[in-house]
Symmetry: C2
Subunit: 324 residues, 2 copies
């Protein structure tokens, strides 16, 4: 189980490796929202997303014997880069199972951290099985993307930093809005926030059609998404995690759901007003306040921008396709 103190321990463990990202705000976004919106831009984190936090916390806990055998993970994107960079930093080897049609830049970046990339065919291969086979054959330790308390503790350091930064500004926050895939970022962050600021409400943000967290919270059990594609690929999972979901059930007030057009508008607003490149999944929280689903009038709200890994061409296409 995770707790405030285990997240505080994680913060010490990862301190020298990660960037304590600032809280940013825009006068224009504030004015339009009628509240005060503070952004936690994890696109500015090393590897371009929050994933390094959890991956490094997990890998730093390996025994000496495990460290010698290395780690293995499967991911098409942010977790791949997070694990690769964390392994390099911890002085262990990483094997990352990635789909052969993953964006070239993501494969290249993962390799550039010194990881061995094992490509598989999405149509015929099962990436979890391939990774498990590697773990069994080599003794490498599997680094799960979210269903692992050490991963959640690492992501939870974002919650500690949010509260510290707010205190330095003399502020408290009414709400924290957090993109949700498997729910590891949400579980870690909400645990830290609820411990330090119990009156703050936590909301998840997800794309339409992949709103498993929102539906599961309402149903009181883990529901699945129908198969499909989303521009928010970095936060799309089949269903909430087994370990993350009970934590989120306890901490989260509700699930916000956004359309792809909402997400594109949010990406454009982040570019124009915050000067940040946000990937679609990373913009889901901002999309949820811009579409009016969460009303910020008179409130202080923290929105987590979870990552910024996308190519220049895709970025331009999304901004061009934004309505209005």
């Amino acid at each position: 189980m995770i707790s405030l103190s285990s997240i505080q321990e994680a913060a010490k463990r990862i301190d020298s490796v990660i960037i304590n990202t600032p809280l940013l705000e825009s006068d224009f976004i504030n004015k339009r929202s009628g509240g005060r919106i503070l952004f936690k831009p994890e696109c500015l984190q090393r590897t371009g997303s929050f994933k390094l936090r959890g991956a490094y916390n997990r890998i730093a806990k390996l025994t000496e014997a495990e460290r010698k055998r290395g780690v293995v993970a499967f991911s098409s994107g942010n977790h791949a880069q997070g694990v690769a960079a964390a392994a390099a930093q911890a002085g262990t080897t990483a094997r990352i199972v990635m789909p052969e049609d993953a964006p070239a830049i993501k494969i290249e970046n993962t390799r550039s951290f010194g990881a061995e990339v094992i490509l598989y065919d999405r149509a015929t291969g099962d990436r979890a099985q391939i990774a498990k086979d590697i773990a069994n054959e080599t003794g490498a330790v599997m680094i799960a993307p979210y269903d692992d308390y050490a991963i959640m503790e690492g992501q939870g350091t974002i919650g500690l930093e949010i509260i510290e930064s707010l205190r330095a500004k003399g502020l408290t926050t009414d709400a924290v809005i957090c993109p949700a895939g498997g729910g590891g970022l949400l579980a870690g962050t909400s645990t830290a926030i609820k411990a330090l600021s119990p009156e703050t409400c936590i909301y998840s943000a997800e794309p339409e059609g992949f709103d498993d967290t929102a539906r599961s919270l309402l149903a009181g059990q883990r529901l699945e998404n129908a198969p499909g594609q989303s521009i928010c690929d970095s936060i799309v999972t089949h269903r909430p995690g087994e370990l993350t979901f009970p934590i989120n059930q306890r901490n989260v007030t509700g699930g916000l759901v956004v359309t792809e057009d909402d997400v594109r508008l949010a990406m454009k607003a982040a570019f124009e007003n915050l000067k940040l490149a946000i990937e679609p999944g990373g913009a889901a929280g901002l999309a949820a306040i811009m579409n009016g689903q969460y009303d910020c009038s008179g409130k202080v709200v923290v929105v987590i921008l979870s990552g910024g890994n996308l190519g220049a061409g895709d970025f331009a296409n999304h901004l061009n396709a934004a309505p209005g």
Copy 2:
């Protein structure tokens, strides 16, 4: 004249209004450069550029009588927004003279801070004269873009923050590279850095054809640029400032010069590796290390990214036009 202590006074004066921007770095840019490059991203500053620092420091020093009469400035971009936001924060009124063909978003943003925008025709009007006439008629105080010690002191707070952030990381820096237009940012920053870290070398970065600072430093006197257009409009001036130049002569080791293609490549690298939207002028320092003019091998180098105010369409066009 400006000094370390006058810049430290400015830092206290502007503390509650500005963002202390973090130092960011990219594993990929570090690897390619052979050194360690730390970026000071003033695109993340309120109003999207460093200009708020100097403008607020100047306006905060107004007497009560001056404050009642308001301020006036001329600018087509970053200084306009900086003065407008600073005036609003200080509770005074601002009139900003802008060319009628300035990007709509910049005019809109300036108005959105509550400033009155006075449009003029570039072909027939003289913006400095229009602003002077307004000052004479209304008693409003002219807020100069760089040739004013209070402005330089405000910009110099960037130098203080750089040294503080480096110390927190246990680092010193071999060089600081800073975009230069009229030279206010350069004068303020270099004064702070030289006082706190005398062994650090300071370099200006400018676009080809508008390298008045580089040429003037070599010639020992203020030289002019030939008239013309540059994509780096935010850092193009006719010649170095009268008050800024002697300070820069004392502090600056040399002037780096970049092409427009260098700038586009730097904008793309900042997007891909730092997840930041940098305007062309703001990317001149990064361009100067990417084009190899300043060799970073084995060094710690701080690069100031001075602003990020540009439209989505222009941004996409620059990234598409980047060579390679």
